[in-house]
Symmetry: C2
Subunit: 190 residues, 2 copies
């Protein structure tokens, strides 16, 4: 069943994320409404398990609801901050990440995005996307939120700009989140 | 009902923690058996909520079971690593904490311990303890595990040694965990 022109519910309390996701899905004619919820997230190293659990724990959820979890895995920090990216951003921030990499030669990182979607039969589907990149030496200006000012996505053209410097429009052509959303929107348009 | 000489179950997979807790409780004649379980912990800023939730999520748990969550709150890092202390220790380690405090003048920290205990009537009781201290400039040697080599507990005698340098015996006279356990053991001996 085609879900184009139907409303989906996005379980999030993050206004930045809501706008980014809604804007990408709207381009595929998918309408998204925010479903405000006090999400219960588990501590686990598996982001798929976290996303599924969260969705299952929402009480009185409408059908056609989804959530999105993203995280940054920094290679020389054993994957830190991973599933705790949001907490780490709120506490030590981009400044902290830069300090942690001060004496490290390897600045490789992967940004991942996991979408868990509960369909009209209560079946859960997972869509994932990831973008490889480098942590910048400095916090850059520009648009963006979260770790956007320190993440330089790698592409075939040899990009050297962070998500923030690229700006929303260009970021959305190569971001981890746009990749998971693309799979999701293809699934919805079946 | 006095629980001295009865067996309590400690839900943990951490051998270090088990030995520390069992040794302190044994001195009060309380016997502790390890209850191995794949704990489900939620992501939350409230450690009491985490401990309670974890205990409630254990399926087929015996009665008289408890768990213990501890965490380090570093003042100049907005409370980081807090409830994610275990993950942070495994990834960036003590070296990472030292790097994060490199340019900070305030090295104050609080180590807290929360015990959640489910009694024979399935009622949950909470016992907490905390110890104020400072993060050391260097990782010290000595006994201990986790953040022990970088945490200097403050006491009236003007202690300048880390938990590790103090060694298990002295650590247990002033640690956050010994304080929550003391309240717990008083409760059990009522």
């Amino acid at each position: 069943m085609k879900l184009v022109n139907r409303i989906l519910y996005f379980a999030t309390g993050n206004e930045h994320k809501y706008r980014e996701v809604a804007s990408i899905l709207n381009e595929a004619n998918i309408k998204v409404e925010k479903f405000l919820v006090d999400r219960i997230e588990i501590q686990d190293n598996d982001p798929v398990k976290i996303a599924k659990f969260s969705l299952e724990m929402i009480k009185d959820a409408p059908t056609r609801i989804f959530n999105e979890d993203s995280g940054l895995n920094i290679k020389s920090l054993e994957g830190f901050p991973g599933p705790y990216s949001s907490y780490v951003y709120k506490t030590i921030g981009n400044e902290g990440i830069i300090a942690l990499l001060d004496r490290k030669s390897n600045r490789e990182a992967v940004f991942y995005s996991i979408i868990a979607y509960k369909d009209e039969n209560d079946k859960i589907h997972i869509f994932s996307g990831e973008t490889k990149g480098l942590i910048s030496e400095k916090i850059t200006g520009g648009e963006g939120w979260g770790f956007d000012p320190i993440f330089i996505p790698i592409n075939e053209e040899g990009n050297k700009l962070t998500y923030s410097e690229l700006g929303f429009k260009l970021k959305n052509t190569l971001s981890h989140r746009s990749k998971s959303l693309e799979k999701f929107s293809k699934f919805l348009s079946r």
